[in-house]
């Protein structure tokens, strides 16, 4: 839990962060875009958001296009923002024989100025190479929209494969501000993410608002990329996510202009772990701890009995969510870790697990 707390604390400075590591074959792009779009639609000017989304699509499709699709845990995208910039970092496995050509394209794009990029774009658009897969139009567009701050690297892993990473930032705010978060901070986050998620087969990590729009986009994403999961696991996952997300929405303490909470979905060899992080007032933390400590003592029949009593008691409007969570993950137990942040607030990590059948 400590490394999770470290990541959560680090990410808390940003109003938005999303990381998805896993299968990029089943087109997760649309659902990821939907999550980003719904988060920024009220705060970012429409034309700026459009440009940011446009480049994000290119970047995510860049993974789909160049990935060798061999080790899905090596394919990932990180998207985060400080409300001035949207910072995007992608990585994927690539066949070594494709590197030369790609690197040549990137090298030639990265030295061009704005005008040259515009010319190159027009040339490529008009040329016959358009039908070729990867004529480089997408990369030229990324360079143009990001005012050419593309950073890229290749790292050889085996005789056959390397990792290819690409990162850039897009301004989403018309005020000109120094982009402090770009290289150093992206590097820090990537390191902390790897520390946390290295052994996972797949990961979805998110910090932002927990509206129902978000939950629905997330469920869409899971339906697409986790089709191979057993159905029963899927429905359980979905019920859990709804309760956990709405719990955050309802109970988390929100610091102004900061994310409400964070969500971790980690696919391991033997099951799926879902954790949440958020701040709680002391009073709510005490109530929560007491409730969970009592729930984890109960067996399945006792949980069902408690649920029934709570449901039938019309005077109570609360508390069913946690009971449902405990019932859904049984025989696994809810785990939690809460530490005092200051006199009034606690940091809470709640962890649940669903085993594969």
């Amino acid at each position: 839990m400590e490394s999770k707390l470290k990541l959560a604390n680090y990410a808390s400075q940003f109003p938005f962060i999303l990381f998805y590591q896993g299968n990029y074959l089943e087109a997760p792009t649309i659902s990821i875009i939907a999550i980003v779009e719904q988060h920024f639609k009220l705060t970012v000017k429409k034309s700026n958001l459009k440009t940011a989304i446009y480049t994000l699509i290119e970047a995510l499709q860049n993974i789909e296009r160049y990935s060798a699709h061999v080790i899905s845990s090596e394919d990932f995208a990180l998207i985060y923002s400080d409300n001035h910039y949207l910072n995007i970092y992608t990585q994927n496995m690539i066949n070594n024989d494709k590197i030369d050509n790609l690197k040549k394209k990137l090298d030639s794009i990265s030295i061009k100025d704005k005008e040259e990029l515009r010319e190159t774009y027009k040339e490529v658009l008009a040329s016959d190479t358009l039908t070729e897969k990867g004529a480089g139009l997408g990369l030229i567009e990324l360079a143009r929209k990001s005012e050419n701050n593309l950073t890229y690297s290749f790292e050889k892993k085996t005789e056959e494969y390397s990792t290819y990473s690409l990162s850039f930032s897009i301004s989403i705010n018309d005020e000109i501000t120094e982009n402090n978060n770009n290289v150093a901070s992206t590097f820090n986050i990537i390191e902390t993410l790897k520390e946390n998620f290295n052994s996972n087969t797949s990961t979805f990590y998110y910090g932002g608002d927990f509206s129902n729009d978000f939950i629905k986009s997330l469920l869409d994403l899971l339906k697409k990329v986790k089709k191979e999961d057993k159905n029963s696991l899927n429905t359980k996952t979905h019920h859990l996510l709804i309760e956990l997300s709405q719990n955050i929405k309802k109970h988390a303490y929100k610091l102004s202009n900061k994310i409400t909470g964070q969500l971790f979905l980690e696919w391991k060899d033997n099951g799926l772990e879902i954790s949440t992080y958020n701040l709680l007032t002391k009073n709510k933390n005490d109530k929560f701890s007491k409730k969970v400590e009592s729930l984890i003592q109960k067996n399945y029949d006792e949980l069902k009995e408690i649920s029934k009593r709570q449901l039938a008691d019309f005077s109570q409007s609360d508390g069913l969510g946690l009971i449902d969570i405990a019932t859904l993950i049984y025989p696994e137990k809810i785990e939690f870790y809460s530490i005092e942040k200051n006199e009034e607030l606690f940091e809470l990590i709640l962890k649940t697990k669903l085993n594969y059948e």
Partner: protein
């Protein structure tokens, strides 16, 4: 007497509602997902609408098929069943659930246990 129908379309996080008055038979269908953050805002006006649409609740079937339901909605649906049953005790409830969905099935069983006198039929699909 001809059939009269009133429909409330599904929204992002609320289900489709169909109310059907056919002679002496009443049918209420609740279908889709139900996860509004404040479920009272949906279920209170719904209950009012049901009361204005149906002259009486005798011979009523309540057909519920929810893929997702948050815990707040769960309670509101229980209240709805209770409210209709109080008006007329020949209520039948059909509770549909996906065969892979243990939680929704458990919720149906809970309703049966809470209301042993109401005819609640669990139907797997």
């Amino acid at each position: 007497m001809s059939k009269e129908i009133f429909t409330i379309d599904a929204q992002e996080d609320t289900p489709t509602i169909i109310m059907e008055r056919d002679g002496s038979k009443n049918l209420i269908i609740i279908k889709g997902i139900s996860m509004p953050e404040n479920s009272l805002e949906f279920y209170l006006p719904l209950t009012e609408k049901l009361f204005s649409f149906f002259n009486s609740f005798s011979n009523t079937t309540l057909d519920i098929n929810l893929g997702y339901m948050n815990s707040m909605s769960n309670k509101q649906i229980l209240k709805l069943i209770h409210t209709i049953y109080e008006k007329s005790n020949d209520l039948s409830v059909i509770w549909r659930y996906d065969k892979n969905d243990e939680l929704i099935k458990i919720k149906g069983e809970e309703f049966q246990a809470i209301f042993p006198n109401i005819n609640i039929l669990l139907k797997e699909y």
